[in-house]
Symmetry: C2
């Protein structure tokens, strides 16, 4: 059980390559507290590999309609990258899914206004 401790040691370029996201965006996420970065003595960022995954999930969450602020509320509940475990991802996933489910429910109820029997938006004026 002597895990190698896995120091945070990947650089900007490599994180960009692994995550498929431009450095400018990664700095933006860091500035806005979506991801965690350590710094070298010379002030350069060093990331944990896990952070590439966090970024991928961030992008998808954005596609599903969450703002950066909303995503931060979720990532804030993750432990520091080197301590993220499978169960953290599962919790993260279900929080995200809950959010999406609520939006779909809103979508459906908006559509039900149009198609249901009690329709507020009935097309033929009766």
């Amino acid at each position: 059980m002597s895990a190698p401790a896995v120091k945070a040691s990947i650089g900007m370029r490599e994180l960009a390559d692994r995550s498929g996201v431009a450095p400018s965006a990664i700095r933006f996420y860091d500035r806005n507290g979506l991801i965690h970065a350590e710094r070298t003595s010379g002030n350069q960022r060093r990331f944990h590999e896990t952070t590439a995954c966090v970024i991928k999930v961030i992008r998808v969450a954005q596609r599903v309609g969450l703002s950066v602020a909303e995503i931060r509320e979720l990532t804030d509940r993750l432990p520091p990258p080197e301590r993220i475990g499978l169960d953290d991802w599962f919790r993260f996933r279900s929080a995200l899914e809950d959010e999406v489910r609520q939006r779909i429910a809103a979508l459906n109820s908006a559509l039900d206004d149009l198609t249901g029997d009690t329709a507020l938006c009935r097309v033929p004026p009766a």
Copy 2:
């Protein structure tokens, strides 16, 4: 069966009230072709009541992550407001739902990268 023909005759203020969306946004939607408006001889917009519903659905579609351009692709396939029928709404609904389903699939597969057996993003380095 002598339906009163239901002319397009609600004004800006009333549409704003019925849809819950500010006039500035409604003009924006009109400019961008998301909704249909007729004009009086004095150049003022006159909307069909159905348009309030279209706007509600637009708002929800945005919440679910669609851009105005993407929404326009859907609304472009609706007939003019006075001819919108139940089956149009059903088609609209399923097009929207398909889109959302695809995004959720992307979400889940991004999360599967993290939690699955074949994980690319495994946390313990094995």
